[in-house]
Symmetry: C2
Subunit: 499 residues, 2 copies
């Protein structure tokens, strides 16, 4: 029994190593690879994905799992066996051929998407989207589901999440958000966000981002930062080699600044997983929603707080004396917290952001069910933008082509972003209760207490608890929209002078 678990653990680690090699191939494609490499890289990704799939669905693993499941060992073993069984059951239903086909197609589709976005030409991406939807529908059918195919896909990112529940959660969130957005729109004295669109030199931004990452305790001995078109965080060796990317825009300071803090939040979680559990579920993140709670907390609850800028603004002023020298702290703080309808999700403010997610959730759910045809996606997108956010994209590059996700076949991923905002607010509320001087720490530039709290309460547990269970254990109650609504109402009420 113990022996079966040891063997299973070895297989698990080899699988984790293989997944991490796939992550390196992907990171390299986005950061380094010359254009000529596209076709060969697609073949390599397909090879590794197929291999990982064969391993994780092998009869040998099935047999080891059956033997090990009676294992009554300590919780690490119990967690690893439980999660390995989940992976095995899910993977076993999908033919290797389909897995390889998806890996190969997405590697090429990303390239087509990049071109389509650059040229704002949806027609160049549409055939790939059709192909990917077809493949992902097949995958969902193989996996199986209770009520709708979309659930089977979402489960890969947020285990156990159900569309109907997410829909209900998002409905209350939307109902609470819309009046706030309206009140803010009517407020008489909006911030002047134009100071953020002045000229900010790229290399100065890059140095500043590095300094911010260090300030927030991202460990450069166990990670690195680079530049890519679409910022992301990936793990090459768990806890030991964690890589972030940022994107810098010379006439929009927040893209690089808050983008970096966001990815640092992801990176701190990955660096906080326990090394002794590397390449196993006990050394892996719970879910994408929980992951996103970490990035959003550092980006928004910390990075967009008044306390943070009381500490850090002078440094940013010194970096850009010409553009910010005469801008007061309060004006800068209000500017980075401007709430206004906007086109691009990753640049959206904290209040309207979730509406971008609700839109994507509704659209991709209909795409997977077949209710929405690919050719109608741009129109549907633009209509929903008008209805929910109040503006219509002038082109598809700033509309339905803006995100990389669909080109990577990750349908069911978007909802985890809004869930992350909710988890973040609920965790942060508890952290503030546990650390009464948290705000003062931030004001003094001390970020270690919050990080230690996260390490203790979230990071070190790996996948020991599922997302819902973790939230319950840490905060004493199930996930709710309430802490988030309270947080944004108070914060933006003060900024916009609402009563």
């Amino acid at each position: 029994m113990g022996d079966a678990y040891s063997k299973l653990l070895e297989r698990m680690k080899d699988l984790g190593r293989l997944d991490a090699i796939e992550a390196l191939l992907d990171w390299d494609q986005q950061v380094n690879m010359p254009p000529g490499g596209v076709q060969g890289r697609a073949e390599q990704l397909s090879l590794i994905a197929g291999l990982a799939h064969e391993w994780k669905t092998s009869d040998e693993v099935g047999q080891l799992l059956r033997e090990a499941q009676s294992h009554n060992g300590e919780f690490a073993a119990v967690t690893n066996i439980r999660e390995m069984a989940r992976t095995f059951d899910r993977a076993r239903r999908v033919p290797t051929k389909l897995v390889k086909k998806i890996a190969h197609t997405t590697a090429l589709a990303q390239n087509a998407w990049a071109t389509a976005r650059a040229e704002s030409d949806f027609a160049k991406f549409a055939p790939w989207l059709t192909r990917l939807l077809d493949l992902k529908r097949q995958e969902a059918e193989h996996i199986g589901y209770e009520t709708e195919a979309y659930d089977a896909l979402m489960d890969a990112f947020e285990p156990g999440a159900k569309s109907a529940e997410v829909e209900a959660l998002f409905r209350t969130l939307r109902d609470a958000t819309v009046p706030l957005v309206k009140a803010i729109a009517d407020a008489p004295n909006p911030p002047d966000s134009s100071i953020l669109t002045r000229h900010y030199g790229r290399s100065a931004q890059q140095s500043l981002s590095r300094a911010v990452a260090e300030l927030l305790n991202f460990d450069f001995n166990q990670g690195r930062t680079d530049v890519s078109v679409h910022p992301f965080c990936t793990t090459i060796v768990p806890a030991s080699d964690v890589r972030l990317t940022s994107r810098y825009e010379e006439n929009f300071l927040p893209a690089g600044m808050f983008g970096t803090m966001h990815e640092v939040g992801h990176g701190l979680y990955e660096q906080g997983l326990l090394k002794e559990h590397a390449f196993t579920p006990m050394g892996s993140a719970v879910s994408l929603g929980i992951h996103e709670s970490q990035s959003r907390m550092w980006e928004n609850m910390v990075g967009r707080s008044r306390a943070f800028w009381e500490f850090y603004y002078s440094r940013v002023q010194k970096t850009f004396p010409d553009v910010l020298g005469s801008v007061a702290l309060d004006d800068f703080y209000r500017a980075v917290n401007t709430v206004s309808p906007s086109l691009i999700r990753v640049e959206a403010d904290e209040v309207t952001y979730n509406l971008h997610i609700v839109l994507r959730f509704e659209l991709e759910r209909e795409m997977i069910s077949g209710k929405l045809a690919v050719r109608d996606v741009p129109t549907a997108w633009n209509e929903k933008m008008g209805d929910m956010i109040g503006i219509v994209p002038p082109d598809d590059a700033r509309g339905c082509l803006q995100d990389i996700h669909w080109s990577t076949g990750t349908f069911g991923y978007f909802p985890t972003y809004a869930m992350g905002n909710l988890y973040a607010a609920q965790f942060f509320e508890k952290a503030q209760a546990d650390l009464p001087d948290l705000n003062d720490c931030i004001r003094r530039g001390e970020f270690r207490p919050l990080l230690d709290w996260l390490r203790e309460n979230i990071h070190r547990h790996g996948q020991r608890y599922r997302a819902g269970e973790l939230v319950q254990r840490v905060t004493g109650r199930p996930l709710s929209i309430e802490p988030f609504v309270k947080y944004v109402t108070e914060k933006f009420g003060a900024i916009y002078g609402l009563t």
Copy 2:
């Protein structure tokens, strides 16, 4: 039969893809990886190496080979089957466990070597060297050999090469070199090489290197250049993603400049292999000796020629006006062709370079046979340096710790460097005969004719011909030291005014 070959071809390509993934893991370790990644990377490399080994030695491949060997198809198939059989026969003799052990040990040993070299502390590397020698001896015993274990190792880099023959070749080379070195040392008017050790800014050097790579037709759509401690060239996707690295020293211009031309030579070969044969022997380089002939030709026969500098010197002068503004072309040309005993192989001149190789060949042959104990390596190194080159390293960093090779377990690799010099001279002599205006082309900055000649005569053939056969076919005679000796005698005779 045709079916067996098709299946074999698929297995071969998957193997090629896997080998290239290993190359990416290695490239990333040398260029990007943060320190924390070392242990996890060693595990990943070991995993892939073990997997590749299992694949290439599988019963299935053996069976497919037997069926396909009666295949009388066109030469590409014949070549692929022949070389796959060679790989299979060789690999099949080595246990997977040993292969994984070697991959794991070398990933860690490289790290130990880097530390040992930085601190010039041989004791920090010695235990790793002992371990690696032991593992490589085991490997050689498994592979088998006629007269000595070293042959089995050298065969991995230069198929068919035999120590006794290399020894004889090197003896005549040494006999021809020593009197020339002596005559040069006695020449009354040596070049002033101090102009090369002035201050050359790193980023200006880097831009210049990029320009040189473009000038020599390295294709940045199918490759990239980076910085690493030990310059190298590697292929991530055959012909489509070829990567070079350089190293820049602020007080030694040639390291970056000629180092880049050298790696570009390797890169042009890799980019010149045929894409339709990617990941198979028909789309792979013949041997390391032939590979080195390409790098040395571009670095020395082209890059250190007077014709090249007549074209390019003004550009370099413009880049470094303060240090080179008043240096005449002829003084610069003579400086970059200074012949003098030196400590570092990669910085050695064309004449003494081969002596550095003979030294390494003799030492590692004795290390493998067990005649030379690891603890005696530094002393033996220093004694041979004194005997053959006339100077003794002041420390091991500039002595036996200078090269990465032993830490990567690549014993038997060094001889291919000197063989590359010989191949290069013999090929270049023929290229000059075929292209009577080659020198004028170089003088006008036209490098395409030489590249086309190399593509036609060498690159496009992949592994169709073994090294010896290729030399015979291209130049009409077997490998000889004569073209090299003639080349250096004439070139340096002119530079040093020898009669």
